[in-house]
């Protein structure tokens, strides 16, 4: 016993290593990788600096009226098409979950058709609708020429919105399915009807699952609006093109448009971060360490 006690307090056994100096691990690979990447970045910056880009032209057209008008049209279309897509998405998500087989299969067909054909083709279909239906309307109530109705704005709105609705429907359906069935039963036993339950109990909880992908889709939508340039909708890319057809400053104007797209997407990413925070607040601390708003990329 006495020997044991002295062994524990003895200063120089091989287990007393507190006095040794600790050397951190040398991460040579990490330093090497960082150096290579910085070198590559320097080369790219140098190339751009020496390349034949007239930066004053970029600055000159950055706030040109046509560019700002295009930017505003891009934003207006993003907002309108997304809102339209969300309304359709909720509608078709509810339809696809409906016990009524007609509603259900109409929704299935809608999603199948609009997810199964390219967006560009859908835009061209809407824009050229007058070729098959010269007039639109309800017989005997009102009627108008299709070409008057199907402006570039309307064709883009219908094309982007309806296509978006098909994707959003699936996102919303997934969100609704993520809410525990006990929540629905608790809502029913306090006398809620299906619609009230959906609006007050199910959708608010589904939002936590729905918001991140919808945020991505809004960001995708900002950029998708650029394909409306092919049907003469005057968004920012089309207006940039119109300018460079006249002055031949192709790269400069594309850079102007790129900077504006990045600016809008950055603002939206920050907004998405706060929205996600809002809808996860009831889940307490477990979601507090979500990653900061790095732009999550879509298309």
């Amino acid at each position: 016993m006495a020997e044991n006690a002295s062994a524990i307090t003895a200063p120089a056994t091989r287990y007393s290593i507190a006095h040794l100096k600790r050397e951190p691990r040398r991460n040579y690979g990490r330093w090497l990788a960082a150096a290579l990447i910085l070198l590559a970045l320097a080369a790219i910056v140098k190339a751009f600096a020496e390349g034949q880009i007239a930066w004053p032209v970029v600055a000159q057209f950055f706030t040109a009226p046509a560019i700002l008008a295009g930017l505003s049209n891009t934003i207006i279309m993003t907002v309108c098409a997304m809102a339209f897509g969300l309304v359709l998405g909720v509608l078709f998500a509810v339809m696809i979950m409906s016990p009524n087989p007609v509603l259900k299969y109409v929704a299935v067909f809608y999603i199948w058709f609009f997810r199964g054909t390219p967006l560009l083709l859908q835009l061209l279909l809407w824009f050229n609708l007058a070729l098959i239906f010269p007039t639109l309307g309800i017989p005997g109530v009102f009627e108008m020429r299709t070409v008057d109705f199907m402006t570039p704005f309307m064709a883009t709105l219908l094309g982007l919105g309806i296509n978006q609705g098909a994707y959003t429907a699936e996102v919303i359906r997934g969100g609704i399915l993520s809410v525990d069935n006990g929540q629905a039963e608790a809502a029913k036993v306090i006398g809620m009807t299906r619609l009230v339950m959906l609006r007050r109990i199910i959708l608010p909880q589904a939002m936590r699952v729905i918001i991140p992908p919808i945020g991505n889709e809004v960001i995708s939508m900002v950029k998708l609006t650029s394909i409306a340039s092919v049907i003469q909708y005057e968004e920012i890319l089309r207006n940039s093109q119109t300018i460079y057809y006249a002055n031949n400053r192709v790269m400069e104007l594309l850079i102007v448009a790129a900077i504006w797209y990045l600016a809008v997407v950055t603002v939206l990413s920050v907004g998405q971060h706060f929205l996600e925070k809002h809808f996860s607040k009831s889940l307490g601390a477990q979601n507090a360490n979500r990653p900061a708003p790095v732009a999550m990329e879509g298309a």
């Binding site: 006990g182 929540q183 608790a186 036993v189 306090i190 006398g191 009807t193």
Partner: protein, 254 residues
């Protein structure tokens, strides 16, 4: 005393499995009835048929003298609409095994949701009542917490307060303590006992034989979709007549 619940020869199938076989039962106003039995015996299903969470396949149920799920006109029964069924459900409150508090609402939000959204009452009238209920279940200081921040026992007491806020004539409890840690069972049973003393009509599906013995006026033993034995707690729990009841009680107490 008049009957608060009348269940008359109901049948319930899940696919080809018959969960309830010609079950009949009456619950008087102010009565506390405990339903016991092994799992899969149909006791939860019976409870869920009373407030139409399950559709019955035969027989009929009356709650507070109103035929459940149908409107009688002449010699025909017309099925009720979603909204009419929702209105009928207001007669009963229900407490679930898994609490099912609304996860996105605070404790106070959970309690006033029904009165404000369904009964369309003014918030300022409902909030004092909600606070009184929270006081009654001993959780007034938790009014701004979210369900995920509470223990199981606290969540279940909130769930009872939420059901009471709708001023039901009848309370249904579906194994209210089965999902709780053993040390939290007592606080929930205490609230239920207090409620029973206040004269509330209660139908309680439970495995807590001690609670049934102390609080119930009548105990029903179910097995394989049928009622095997009914009587006072003394009769059913202490001197059961049927062998199946004796086996069950022995197994629970073992």
């Amino acid at each position: 005393m008049c009957a608060m619940v009348v269940v008359n020869e109901i049948q319930k199938y899940f696919g080809t499995f018959q969960a309830l076989k010609d079950v009949s039962l009456e619950v008087a106003a102010g009565e506390v009835l405990c339903i016991i039995g092994p799992s899969g015996s149909g006791k939860s299903t019976l409870l869920r048929c009373i407030n139409q969470l399950e559709r019955i396949d035969g027989g009929a149920v009356w709650v507070a003298d109103e035929l459940v799920g149908y409107r009688q006109e002449g010699d025909r029964l017309y099925e009720l609409t979603d909204a009419q069924i929702a209105r009928q459900r207001l007669a009963s409150g229900m407490v679930f095994q898994r609490f099912n508090l609304f996860a996105h609402l605070t404790v106070l939000g959970n309690i006033i949701e029904g009165p404000v959204v369904v009964q369309k009452r003014a918030r300022k009238d409902v909030i004092p009542e909600a606070m009184a209920l929270l006081d009654r279940v001993g959780l007034a200081d938790k009014k701004d917490s979210y369900p995920a921040q509470l223990s199981g026992g606290q969540q279940q007491r909130i769930a009872i307060a939420r059901a009471l806020a709708m001023k039901p004539k009848l309370m249904l409890f579906d194994e209210p303590t089965s999902a709780l840690d053993p040390e939290l069972v007592g606080e929930v049973l205490e609230v239920m006992q207090d409620l029973a003393r206040s004269g509330m009509t209660m139908v309680v599906v439970t495995h807590e034989l001690g609670f049934a013995r102390e609080v119930a006026h009548r105990v029903v033993f179910m097995d394989r979709g049928s009622i095997v034995e009914t009587g006072t707690p003394q009769q059913v729990l202490t001197h059961p007549r049927e062998q199946r009841t004796r086996d069950f009680i022995a197994a629970v107490l073992a």
